[in-house]
Amino acid sequence: MSQTDPLILGIESSCDETGVGLVRGTQLLTNTVSSSMEEHIRFGGVIPEIASRAHLEAFVPTLRQALADAGVSLEDVDAIAVTSGPGLAGALMVGVSAAKALALATGKPLYAINHLVAHVGVGLLENSMAVRSPGEGLPENLGALLVSGGHTEILRVRSMAEDVELLGSTIDDAAGEAFDKVARVLGLNYPGGPAIDKLAKEGNAKAIRFPRGLSAPKYMGAANEPGPHRYDFSFSGLKTAVARCVEGYEARGENVPVADIAASFQEAAVDVITAKAVLACKEKGMTTLLLGGGVAANSRLRELAQQRCAGANITLLVPKMSLCTDNGAMVAALGAQLVMNGVSPSDLAFAPDSSMPVSSISLA
């Protein structure tokens, strides 16, 4: 196998996107994604069983398409990488079963890898971000802020292949989930993120002061004596506060100022997300912050993150959106790092782990 520029096929099925990506070293060849998002709209959120059924139907066509787009055959592939967690158990199972079949049918090594760390992996792909030049490794002192419908985390990345630490995460809903639920309260369509982002532009973000979860001193503590949730998030209280606010207007027989509420909710969410991420960077000496996950598309999150990172001398990296949302290329990119670092492949008997911790970058 080529240790310097390995050709890696990456498979992602942890939520509602079936992704197959091909990467050669740090060069992105193709990123093919089939989403079951449309099938979840009428339910207002991702239904695990529907997602799992869709993965099964989409897998082989997506694989075929990815190979055709990249103009490579399976014989050319050096190794296969698959998301083994965290994610929806039934959804992970489809990608893992298919990846194992690929590995055993081709005789190629298989890497069972962590979805969250893979989100950071796209940062290594050439041309994924304007700020980085080809061939350069990961920036020193790197942090990552992952914000999506399935997860919300702050990571410290010392080495992509060997040392990733979880600094903080949500203790209840993911940020994207909060956007979806609030959108429903406001009578907007799923997915809530884009709908709220759009409506918020017409509203006053200062109209209503919604709570910033886990930002009270008893949770935060101080830098030298951190509280129990210094870098953690909570969005369920915020969601409830929005619902109460809407009901208050309704009870008083007043028109609900949906644009103001959308803007104020969005402000509360992105304020606490960016404030905690920047705080973690400052306190942990991280000088570059990589943004990942579908909520990276939110215009206010990008704006505020940019502003606060600039103010704290932190370089903010935002990959292009097709690489921020769940995809197979990020899995392949991390797989390539593991191969290039001489990490051993996974045993064919590994089990997917729906709560795989980031300290576990790949399974043995």
Binding site: L63, A101, A105, E247
Partner: protein, 245 residues
């Protein structure tokens, strides 16, 4: 001819079968067979199990004449792991891919099990006429189908409470699980086949019998690999908003 069969509708199982196309049933030999006992570890064990059937799967796989997979009914997550495996293997090896209802594997086992007279002589299959095979569908229900004494599918597959079945011989793990209820509706449950699960080996035998009857693999009436879920996803379109106050 050589076929790989996989079934994960209950346990995880895979079998490699060899036979002569002009007399499949009598020339059948089992090259390799793998099956778990439990119904919950498919993701871990299936791939190593399939691999263990071959000396070198990379070389032997593309030489197969078909991959046949049990398409259920069965608990969804396990079922999908087998179908995802079979579809991907067939794609990589570029070999024909077929599905077969997993309950046919149980019907085949009933067909293959002799009934003995008092003097110990075999009197033919244990099924005396039409019979039902049933597996555990969880939630106090069974997956079931009705077959003729010759193991031809007559009705099904269905999912429902065991009380939907009456006045017939019932075989399979679903029969053992709900023996009392089935006996109350006039069914007969035999201890000998009251705990059997569909396996890739029995599924393969069912496929071979079909090939034997039809004269060829292509004419055997095998299915595509669409899973037989029989149940919807359980997802509910949300009703009016719940009040937070």
């Amino acid at each position: 001819m050589r076929i790989l069969t996989i079934d994960t509708s209950a346990v995880a199982s895979a079998t490699l079968l060899n036979f002569e196309p002009n007399d499949p049933v009598r020339t059948l030999s089992v090259v390799g067979n793998f099956a778990t006992q439990d119904t919950r570890s498919h993701a871990e064990v299936l791939a190593p199990g399939v691999k263990s059937l071959f000396t070198d799967a990379v070389i032997e796989g593309p030489a197969l004449d078909a991959v046949v997979v049990g398409v259920g009914p069965g608990p969804f997550t396990g079922l999908r792991s087998g179908i995802a495996m079979a579809r991907t293997l067939a794609f990589v090896w570029d070999v024909p891919l077929y599905g077969l209802m997993s309950l046919e594997a149980l019907a085949q086992q009933v067909f293959d099990t002799p009934r003995h007279g008092l003097d110990g002589r075999a009197l033919g299959p244990v099924a005396m006429g039409d019979f039902v095979v049933a597996t555990d569908a969880r939630r106090k229900e069974v997956y079931w189908a009705r077959f003729s004494a010759a193991a031809q599918l007559m009705d099904g597959p269905h999912v429902g409470p065991p009380t939907d079945i009456s006045d017939i011989q019932v075989f399979g793990a679903g029969a053992g699980l709900y023996r009392e209820q089935l006996e109350q509706t006039g069914c007969e449950v035999y201890s000998v086949l009251a705990d059997v699960q569909p396996t890739a080996l029995a599924l393969g035998r069912a496929a071979i019998r079909r090939i034997s009857v039809a004269g060829s693999l292509e004419a055997a009436g095998l299915l595509d690999t669409t899973p037989l879920y029989l149940r919807e996803s359980d997802a509910k379109v949300p009703g009016p908003r719940k009040r937070a106050l």
